[in-house]
């Protein structure tokens, strides 16, 4: 409708295309930005499965914590929709928001914040302890969940989500070298847990 388009163009010109997003998604984003909860529900239904999968893996398989994280993410997404400018796909924006929210939550938890991506401390975490004692083969999801936090973040973001080393390093505020070291450790731990192997270069 003409009047609707005029209002939209006058206030905030919206890109006609966004990387990978459909016209329907763009329309929902625009309506949700104007306060339309129904449009936001459509976005939720479209993206919640992937966001929840990421949350489950970031939260070591704890479904309850994953649900809380996902809820936080979508509430923040609602409040920050104005900041989405279409420079990346909406799904990428949501995934970055998910990782940032997880990190923010972790920082507010003293017990965790001292251990995020600390190479020295990972051996003290529950997941790391299991790496030396476990001798049963696990399924992939369980094995990823059992990884020490730093190794799990690096593995999930790089090997599952497909982010580049540099992107992960910037998002987590660590060096590329740290990410590569965490990935190396994650893959060896996974090999041990999935294949029951205790042999290899790092043993």
């Amino acid at each position: 409708m003409k009047t609707s388009a005029v209002v939209s163009d006058t206030i905030e010109p919206f890109p006609s295309t966004i990387n990978g997003d459909t016209t329907a998604t763009l329309d929902c984003i625009q309506r949700a930005r104007a306060g339309d909860v129904g449009a936001f529900e459509i976005l939720y239904k479209e993206h919640s499965g992937r966001v929840y999968a990421l949350c489950v893996r970031l939260q070591a398989g704890d479904r309850s914590e994953a649900t809380e994280l996902m809820q936080d993410v979508f509430i923040k997404a609602w409040r920050r929709l104005e900041t989405f400018r279409g420079e990346s796909a909406f799904s990428s924006w949501l995934h970055r928001l998910t990782v940032n929210t997880m990190l923010e939550n972790a920082r507010s938890d003293r017990r965790r914040s001292a251990r995020v991506l600390s190479m020295e401390d990972t051996s003290l975490l529950p997941g790391a302890a299991r790496s030396t004692s476990i001798d049963l083969k696990m399924d992939m999801e369980e094995a990823v969940a059992s990884l020490p936090r730093g190794a799990r973040l690096a593995f999930v973001l790089h090997d599952v989500q497909g982010y580049q080393h540099q992107e992960i390093a910037e998002q987590l505020g660590v060096s590329v070298g740290t990410i590569k070291a965490q990935l190396h450790r994650a893959r060896r731990l996974l090999r041990d847990r999935l294949e029951g192997s205790n042999e290899g270069f790092d043993q």
Partner: protein
Amino acid sequence: MTHDVIRHLLDDYVTGDLPEDARAPVADHVATCAACSAEVDSLRRILARASELPAAIEPPAEAWSNIREAILRDEKAVATPIDRVAMFRRRPMVMGAAAAILVAVLSSTVTAIYLNSRQPSGVTTVRVADATPATLAAFTIEENNYLRTAAALQDVLDQQESVLAPETVAQLKASLRTIDEAILEARNALARDPSNKLLVEMLSANYKQKVDLLRRSTEMTRGT
């Protein structure tokens, strides 16, 4: 390159992150070293299994309810245009409350602009397109009139729509939804930029369009 050097390059070799000039010596070594070859195979299996993990997991059903409840507490949130039409149609008393809220919002705006206008000259920057307090006050009255008229006409249309052809009713409802969306959009834009005179004019035009459509529709039911 020695075995000790190459073993630290195997991750990048498998993921394709190794610079081109380093790939050949690593590949040559892997072809002849059983330990490195086994390591490469193992890494490839792990990466293959990572790629097979489900991209999506169904979240708990109650998650959306919790999210919705939280965002509805935000003042930005409003009911969908369809909900708003239904609200005015089924619960006329709600319209009075909604109108009261609009009066309060616009009154606050008028107050804020009035207070700004009392600041020393040079402090307040007034744009050409800014709405004046008088404009907003007039619009407040106009908006309430439109809301009352639209609700009354909607009630008449609801009672009489059975005399219209179903496709006509469907077309009317679709048109009303479109206008409601435009109203919603302009209303939210005005909330973000309350002194924008152009937005006031657009919103006013949208209300007028809705009332005109409802009036023509009720006339159709009477065959006039």
